[in-house]
Symmetry: C2
């Protein structure tokens, strides 16, 4: 179900690319390993990459208790978490109409701290996003490790997605120009796994990493 | 030559990954097609993806004159432009030591507007970054198109890079655990070009897109 744009999620530039549908948002979030988190403190505005993952209608972030970003976010600072997948370069016949294909989502809000008792299950979900089933294979966090980790959640309530797909959109008078036009696609592609040592058995998420 | 960290670029978490070397910064910027630009306005903190490119010691951004972000940046707002390349998932034997390999740069400052007379050359540099030589092939921007475009530059003066490479770093007592550990690498990889029409000649940047 689409949500209504707010004053800060309304998309004015190339509004035909705007998408407020929750399914679009979830697909963008679930395909991402990281977001860029913007927040402000006394030194100004910051923008830092962070791992992110989703459970239901919450985006989760985590890090060391000492992290400046997590301390600010935990103290009730407004944040904006943005995810962008770059899907290709769009080469048009005119310089002006060059573009990129992408899927982006910006999520606004205030983070809530995840209670200690809920942390293990939430962190297992991150592990199983990286590598399905791995939360039952790796050594779980011990009390000290869990205590050193802050986990925050950002409600997926106020957001805007923007998506561009397809080929170049040239002006009609440019279509006959003798210049190559089209899309140079990009994909964040798995490369051959690099084991740290030798293993008798290789998990499915490693053999399937291609 | 490394620059000295400032109050907002000093890296406190995993400081061994910090890098203030200009060569590291330039390599990260030059490998990127986009950055995430954080800025604040009356509605709060925003974080939006933007194309970016470098000439000498300046990061360039552009967009429609009407863009909220460009209007704010052009009005002297402090911004933070961050670029992150995700290079892989690092699977350690313990949940706590899981990580990611990445190359990230955060650039702080205030943008300056590029004068109209300088815009064509600066935009040509973007075009030639996307596709070397293309600025002499595509139809150049006309007066109306150039007038509709704001080009800003952000000096590459105050920045911090953070880079993680290599395999998992497990605690010594975890090394004998019977769980696969290693890196699942990722790369933003070119996919087969998608021409918009048929062409007698294909430029090198298309045939070489692999």
């Amino acid at each position: 179900m689409p949500t209504a744009p707010t004053a800060r999620t309304r998309i004015r530039r190339q509004a035909e690319r705007a998408d407020f549908d929750r399914a679009t948002l979830y697909a963008i979030v679930d395909a991402a390993h990281l977001c860029h988190l913007a927040f402000a403190d006394d030194a100004g505005v910051h923008c830092l990459p962070m791992a992110c993952w989703r459970i239901d209608d919450q985006l989760y972030l985590h890090g060391s208790n000492g992290s400046r970003m997590l301390k600010r976010a935990d103290a009730g600072a407004q944040v904006c978490a943005t995810i962008t997948h770059l899907d290709g370069l769009v080469l048009a016949r005119s310089a002006f109409n060059h573009s990129m294909n992408y899927r982006a989502a910006a999520i606004y809000g205030v983070c809530e701290r995840v209670a200690d008792a809920a942390k293990p299950a939430v962190l297992d979900a991150l592990m199983d996003k990286l590598a399905p089933g791995r939360s039952r294979q790796a050594r779980p966090g011990n009390a000290q490790e869990l205590a050193a980790t802050t986990v925050l959640r950002l409600p997926l309530h106020e957001f805007a997605c923007k998506v561009r797909r397809g080929g170049p959109e040239d002006d009609a008078e440019d279509l006959a120009l003798p210049v190559w036009a089209g899309v140079l696609p990009l994909r964040l592609a798995p490369q051959p796994p690099q084991p740290d040592g030798a293993y008798a058995e290789t998990p499915d998420y490693v053999t399937g990493w291609r």
